[in-house]
Symmetry: D2
Subunit: 410 residues, 4 copies
């Protein structure tokens, strides 16, 4: 089949221009020489569009590995500026001082998180706890009638041990925690909740779910319609994830003393509270938003890009709550992230820059015990989000937002 080295670069390009060769066939046409294929594909796009793609060709990760795991029709890489905020003093499920790598093109973001870190550090650090941990996948099945649906779910409840056995046979990293059944008419949604070690785990859970689904189809009248029935819910904002959680559910809090609010944040606790109340609660309530916070998504997107997470999970990362409560001597701040999907193995985590970014926080690869690295990472992310919230809310409360942006020239 392979015709190693038989085509010259120009032959490949000509064949592509003529349409005799498809973009995804280049690797084969050049005998599996991935770097060469990447260059030829980029050259082809340059020829078709008449544009030079010099920068896209500049990258340092292993193209072959990326083509196996992360990308198809590769032409190179996007470079996203990376900065660091911190150090950030964390307690609870992550303990120590951490630098936070943030890859972003939004000016002022790193500076803002950095200021939040200073406020937290001066207050003795932030506590973060992973209060729930379970990646989900929820296939949708069709029954013949509601009665059939109920019978099938009863069968599933009666055979949970068998289901667990099947699910856990698909991966030594996976533990099936629960199957949550939901009904809409004769549609049955089974929300599989699994621990997945240090991996974000969506594919792992999908494979397990698929296997269990086959068993269910064999033993009941249910017919699987879609391996994901949007009750998981993956990459769509939803109340089900807000309420029941998905991936890691993490909460972080800190008590900011009056002097920290004044000296570091240049505002008052009453002003900060008023912003949280009117913006994060009254405003979000009116908007029928699922995000009762200031800008979770900014911090999460930046960390996710830097560390090889699935960036589309920023969607779930935007869900959640920032709460503030004025007390004698200071203000209590907390962030609640119900649905944080992170991993330290798999996905994009082993690419060059991504692994280094995880290294900066000391969380790359598998933890010991398994799962501990991902949970530690989740706790750090929550503390970074807390830093970002504190800083932005302080800035808004001092009417600094626009000015800051202007000064930083955007």
């Amino acid at each position: 089949m392979e015709r190693k080295g038989e085509m010259s670069d120009e032959e490949v390009l000509s064949a592509l221009m003529r349409g005799d060769l498809k973009m995804h066939e280049i690797e084969r046409a050049v005998g599996g020489d991935v770097p060469r294929a990447v260059e030829l594909r980029r050259a082809f796009v340059e020829r078709k569009t008449g544009k030079h793609l010099r920068n896209i060709g500049n990258f340092s990760f292993d193209a072959e590995m990326a083509m196996r795991r992360n990308i198809e029709n590769m032409i190179g890489a996007a470079q996203i500026p990376m900065g660091v905020a911190g150090p950030l003093l964390c307690k609870g499920d992550a303990s120590g001082e951490f630098f936070i790598p943030l890859a972003t093109t939004e000016g002022a973001l790193v500076a803002s998180v950095n200021r939040g870190c200073a406020a937290i550090n001066r207050s003795g650090g932030a506590y973060a706890f992973v209060i729930a941990d379970g990646m989900t996948r929820a296939p949708v099945f069709r029954a013949n009638s509601v009665q059939d649906a109920i019978n099938a779910v009863n069968f599933i409840r009666d055979n949970e041990d068998k289901m667990r056995e099947i699910a856990e046979s698909t991966s030594k990293h996976l533990k099936l925690k629960e199957i949550q059944p939901f009904f809409v008419g004769r549609n049955v949604f089974l929300r599989f909740v699994c621990e997945t070690g240090d991996a974000m785990g969506m594919n792992m859970v999908t494979i397990a779910t698929d296997e269990v689904s086959s068993f269910i189809e064999e033993h009941t009248s249910l017919r699987s319609i879609a391996i994901s029935g949007n009750v998981c819910v993956d990459k769509k904002p939803s109340a089900v994830n807000l309420i029941l959680g998905r991936g890691k559910t993490v909460i972080a809090d800190v008590f900011l003393r009056d002097d920290v609010v004044e000296d570091v944040l240049k505002t008052t606790k009453d002003a900060m509270f008023e912003v949280v109340m009117r913006k994060c609660f009254v405003g979000s309530a009116f908007s029928s938003s699922l995000g009762f916070n200031a800008h979770f998504a900014n911090i999460i997107a930046a960390i996710f890009i830097a560390t090889g997470q699935d960036v589309a999970h920023t969607v779930e990362g935007s869900l959640g709550f920032t709460t503030a409560e004025v007390e004698e001597g200071g203000i209590h701040f907390a962030v609640t992230l119900p649905s944080l999907q992170v991993g330290t193995v798999g996905g994009g985590t082993s690419l060059g820059t991504q692994r280094e970014a995880l290294d900066i926080m000391g969380v790359s690869g598998s933890g010991s015990p398994e799962g501990s690295n991902a949970r530690k990472f989740a706790a750090i992310v929550a503390c970074a989000v807390l830093a970002g919230e504190i800083s932005l809310i302080a800035a808004i409360s001092a009417r600094h937002l626009t000015q800051a942006h202007m000064r930083l020239n955007r």
Copy 2:
């Protein structure tokens, strides 16, 4: 090149380690030599963490420009693998064949979009239309009473021309389209809706809003509490953006013929329809989701990373609807994206790889007339999202999802 700084590299690092110098002060300490500052900061992080950050140091964009506009405390860049899907035949507000640059670490995504492009092309192309265009910012004000709030809003309504004049005086690219007033008790939210040329425009609108807010505070009893009151809504999922739109509201559709469904997508239109119905509608409805689609966010995140958009806007990009309707001879597919925030100037769009990715689609920089490039880009994005939806729904309907992921090694 520059060497104004009096401190040697080691002196800088020592000062950093001792805490006598802060990370954001390095630029100043080395006389404004940005590349050197970036290297020193990275070296500092390496020293603190004991990790090598070789790959992060590898980038080809202009560090000085990035530090002015996009990042603080820069240590380098994240590299995200970039592939291309297409060409994709577009009609309507974007016309022609386009390659779609996608930066992602999620294997199978580019291949999936690519297959959707093939299905669309074989069906004669997809139509996309930008049906609304307006970036928003909604400050929250406090009135003394409901009556005061009403009086103030009446004043604002009576002085819309003046407000427009003030708003538009802040930028020649900005047009104030509307101020939407909303009340919650004595809280007043004013949602400013503006056209912002080819820029995504959030900062532009923020500046204009801030200026108008000052005028309002001078002439009414309203007191501005937060320049963003979460009725904008930026980077949080919300019904207000789903219903009223934010940024570009775009719809794309295509009629897939029976033979295309069979030959390219290897499934049937009835099976595809059933997945859309049970997953995208029944499932999302049960989840109280604002995303009635399969995976908008995947395609949007990948294009946004590639092209220098604000990636946290993936949150709003996940909102919207995929609809499918079986007809004689084929199936009608459409995607509705109510809240797509894109720009071809500003933000991260002028960085090296990002500009090239926009170049691939012929949409980098300002359009003529102004705004036309951003709208064309939005239309292309919608067609790419359509391609992604078609392909994934087809795959699910053929129970191919897990297998595809397994074959591609995840």
Copy 3:
């Protein structure tokens, strides 16, 4: 009295028992003698079920009129205990002291509203304003393609005057304020917003919408699928009504002085505020609720039953916000009801007890100018809801809730 019917009572009952006569045919069988038909139908149900329905037969309204307008297959009436709260001092769009008729079976409700009235009166009265007024109906249309949909909506925008003329020709009480077009793929929803005088107006708007829809179908490629496309939205909770309003949008507020909070409400303003914050905002946010309040629905259901409103509109009545803000000298309380559907003519408003209940507030029948009665009524309802919220939140804050219920024996 009438005896036109050729069938005796026993003949009618026997025919019913045999199934030769249907329940809705009784009126005809007894020559249109409605009271007799009602009695026979009740007798039939008694015979079928073996139960005595003595109380259901006890009513004093005009059965014939009710059968024409309000009910079919009538067997009598339900009696709901009615109490009054108040007087309640109102200002703004309703001015004066009003007794509030409440028909309910939930013990403690009237007493609770009554206490809230006392607190409001002692604070100088509550202000209420109807800030928007428009009943809606939104048919859904199907277009052939997105492009067709856009063309059709452009036609509609270009012909709004004609639409208005058609709509307003269907009733002298109706004014078409706006047609709000929304797209989902090739589905077009046209949300007609109308003023409807003193009537709640849903049927009036439906008739007007139907007429305009016919015109649209004649002149565009749109095909009407459903006269209500659930974007109206009638009797389902929805963000669109929360944000854009439906029926009357009303806000009421009051400043409760410290002494009133202490003497009348037996609590503190800080305690009340804390309940509003944690229950009405944090709790409702977590629940993904559209009701950020304590118990709007209780007061609205009770007034609606008493006054002949469409009780299913309690659903929209439950939407909205209770806000509280602690100040020097007292606490500011407000309720925001975005979607209050009320009328003083039509529906059940002319039945015996219902008209009397409206009379108690001085708002039965048409106002002068038209619409003023319904708006005044809406303002009173909002003040009553405010009273109910204040009282319940005060009770909760004093941990009185359970005890109050126990003392009142439920």
Copy 4:
């Protein structure tokens, strides 16, 4: 204190007019003669408003009992026209033919449900199943920190048996099924889920929750802020009730044969399906509604008024899904009601007309075993809702809605 019989009617009225006697003091002033007190109070309102309240005085239930359980400041009763639909053939958790009592002032409603019953009966009856049963109450507690909150919840998990014992000691009818803990920052919501026999049970659960809360406050650092923290969620629309259920979760379905659709419903299954798709799913999705149905609330409000339920629970009754699926030979219709709160004892169920209405369905009073009557009633309600949905959707699909309303004169 009591001055039995010492005041004449005129003395009472004069004292009321002067403000020397409050409305709620009349009972005491007339020696506890409730009927006389009711008349005097009504006379007072008549004098104050100058209106005759002849009809409101006409009622046949036991005023004394009502004043003890259901109402304060009573002046009489509202009369709501009551009709019956049916008989309706039910299977599953309610078995047999049932007449459905509907108290409403919305013309066409009874007729519409009646037609739906005919369609269901001709199809062999509808199946309904109560798939979950649990009334909820969720107090909100404040902890000192997130860590404290977690510790407290761990204590609660470890002591569930003790909690159960305390909860169940408050009523022999109550069974504590589960305590669902939720966190927002340092707020803890504990959602108590209880079976409550044949009572709707809200007060029963509140009392039990209050007792357990005291225990929790004694043994942890949690401080109860509100006995209801809006995560219950009572009488506010919410995703948490849609997803997790509250009260009864009921599903009903029926397979309508082609001939029934044609003969009884005068439409086609394809037309019905299209209405369900575009209205109940696409339309409701766009509206960000929690009600994916046509008019659940209408049927529920009418049954609730007739049978003495808490009518404000119509809010939760409006949540849920109507699904329709075209098949060979007919169309499958189902309604899913996640949150139906009903009881056959307590509340307004023992009032005269209300008990009779329950009697019509054979479900008044306690069931044997306990709870069976309430569940049977819930199943009947679901079948009636199904009938209402089928009929309205059929009518819409045949463009009959407006015409039907016009013909029936509203």
